[in-house]
Amino acid sequence: MNAPANLKYTKSDEWFDPETGKAGLSDYAQGQLSDIVFVEILVDEGDEIEAGKAIASVESVKASAEIYSPAGGKVVAVNKDLADKPESINTDPYGEAWMIQLEGGSAGDVMDAAAYEKYCEERDH
């Protein structure tokens, strides 16, 4: 699994970039879900949201999952291309497959990359 050091992570497997305000689903989570076949973003530009709010719904061949916002703030952009390319969550979870971008956001209950990697390893057993 891959967890870039500049990002923050939640226990429910979302990532948050404090620099850009972008958020999405972690590499570990996409690996667990396997091939993702559907994604729907549940918030709109301009929405004021709190950390923990459901921002997207994702379906893979194995399961469906809700994605929760790792931070609170104003949604300034949503990735409109993602619905047509759900597979990009598998191939580029931290890049092309960002889900929303927040402004003035404050991270919720998040951990750094090292802590997140440890947390994922524990769950693998």
């Binding site: 091939d35 076949v37 559907f38 379906e59 061949v61 194995k62 399961a63 469906s64 759900p86």
Partner: protein, 505 residues
């Protein structure tokens, strides 16, 4: 010239053409007699459809086509079907006789009640039996299947709180091992879901539950035994906590097959529960449906049941049977179905099943279901990791993965098809990695169970020595490995439309 059929190999398959492929213009199965009534003009042309691309075939072609297709099918009548949480038990054939008795078959739900007393007597008795089996005070037979029963049950819970002026309850507590239909039913109601984790023994995490219980809680939806096949060791405490904050306890009856004649959910403190007649009571399941999802409620919720219920409207005397009819509960949530539920397909079959077994037979069902599951678990646990490894109920969940191997649960399941077994449930519950959820049911004998275990052990060996056998499985079926990703992403059911069919028209 006619080609000899290709020998079936792993990459050349003889596939049945579609009914449209078999069609030939003008071919017909019936000859209409000459008209013996006066002809009249057709409706205006604007109301007529000029093209209706129905296939044209003779009767024998239609029969052969569907016979071929049916031979592709795998069912509980053709082999072992250990699909966990679905209780794919054998459906005794006497049920097919009783539900086709002319008195049941040729009745209509709008007939005057005096003319359908037999039907109503059966429904009344089924309500009484389900009460006796579950410990509840009232039963509705209306819901069409399990999830419809959940929706009905949650409506009843909401109506109960509202009737007490308790309007701020909007949250439903649902364990992470729950069936996906539970949060879906709650979502349809506009309520929110609070997920409660499981502890390391597979029980509801009591600390998390206690923290979530407050005066905004509608109640909790719990499957017990849960989808790990485990009976919650703290069930009384769980119910006490939910009741303690004013919530109601909903039981998902999907796993009732483990409890018949042993534990009555109503006695344990559940307030509402749906039954899956198509699981526990041997009504055909899946494509063989329709299902049937009656709901039972405790005494304080009886007034909220859907209307109408079957009741006695005039007591009998001496030799005279009572007069059955329909009654409306005082604060009913209304109708859940246009008529009275799935009568012939559901109620008559379940009635027959209960009548044929009797109280002792029902208890035997659960005891053998639990025994069979534990037998499989014990024989498989050294080969497949069982993460919540304790005495199970009617099913258990193993991991379909091996240290240092890229074989996944899906590969194991597909390989089972090569050995003519239906795969267990895959990837559910979500809290187990590469889950294989195995439910043998009570109907399987030791020879079948042993044959299944032997194959599972053989597949584990193949995973080590010839993993590609698993990755490429199945190879002995009509169709090989399906491309699930393509099927989910490219939603095109057919690559062409029948000739003469204009999509724009």
């Amino acid at each position: 010239m006619i080609d000899a059929p290709e020998k079936t190999t792993t990459d050349v398959k003889i596939v049945e053409p579609t009914i449209f492929d078999l069609s030939s213009p003008g071919r017909t199965g019936v000859t209409m007699p000459a008209s013996d009534v006066p002809e009249t003009a057709l409706p205006p042309e604007a109301l007529l459809r000029s093209e209706l691309p129905l296939p044209e075939l003779a009767e024998v072609d239609v029969v052969r086509h569907y016979m071929h297709l049916s031979s592709f099918n795998y069912s509980v009548d053709s082999g072992y079907y250990p699909l966990g949480s679905c209780t794919m038990k054998y459906n005794p054939k006497i049920n097919e006789d009783t539900c086709r008795l002319p008195g049941f078959l040729f009745t209509h739900p709008l007939q005057p009640v005096e003319t359908v007393q037999g039907n109503l007597a059966l429904m009344y008795q089924l309500q009484e039996w389900l009460k006796e089996i579950s410990g509840f005070a009232g039963i509705t037979l209306q819901p069409a299947a399990g999830a419809h029963g959940e929706f009905t049950g949650v409506l009843i819970m909401r109506a109960y709180h509202k009737s007490r002026g308790d309007d701020k309850r909007t949250k439903m507590l649902i364990p992470d091992a729950a069936h996906g239909t539970n949060p879906a039913s709650v979502g349809m109601m506009g309520m929110s879901v609070v997920t409660i984790p499981s502890d390391e023994r597979g029980n509801v995490d009591l600390k998390a539950l206690e923290a979530a219980c407050d005066d905004t809680v509608v109640g909790m939806m719990l499957t017990n035994p849960n989808t790990l096949g485990l009976f919650d060791e703290h069930i009384e405490k769980v119910i006490e906590l939910v009741h303690g904050c004013g919530g109601l306890m909903y039981g998902d009856g999907a796993n009732l097959n483990a409890l018949l004649g042993i534990v009555r959910p109503g006695d344990v403190g559940f307030d509402v529960m749906h039954f899956n007649l198509h699981k526990t009571f041997a009504v055909p399941h899946g494509g063989g449906g329709p299902g049937s999802g009656p709901v039972g409620v405790a005494a304080h919720l009886v007034d909220f049941l859907p209307e109408p219920l079957v009741g006695i409207i005039e007591e009998g005397e001496d030799e005279l049977p009572p007069l059955y009819g329909f009654v409306k509960p005082e604060k009913s949530i209304g109708r859940m179905k246009a008529f009275h539920g799935h009568f012939g397909g559901g109620h008559v079959r379940a009635f027959t099943y209960i009548a044929m077994h009797g109280p002792d037979g029902l208890k035997d069902i659960s005891q053998y279901a639990v025994l069979n599951a534990n037998y499989l678990q014990v024989r498989l646990r050294d080969t497949y990791k069982v993460p919540y490894d304790r005495i199970c109920m009617h099913e258990f969940v193993a991991e379909g993965r091996f240290e240092g191997s890229d074989v996944r649960a899906l590969d194991i399941s597909k390989r089972l098809m090569d050995y003519n077994f239906h795969p267990p449930t895959n990837y559910f519950p979500l809290i187990v990695h590469e889950a294989l959820m195995i439910e043998p049911t009570e109907t399987e004998n030791k020879d079948t169970l042993d044959a299944f275990v032997d194959v599972m052990i053989k597949i584990a060996e193949e995973a080590k020595t010839q993993p590609d056998l698993l990755h490429n499985a199945p190879s002995t079926t009509k169709f090989g490995r399906m491309d699930e990703v393509k099927a989910a992403r490219e939603l095109v059911l057919c690559c062409w439309l029948p000739e003469g069919y204009d999509l724009e028209a």
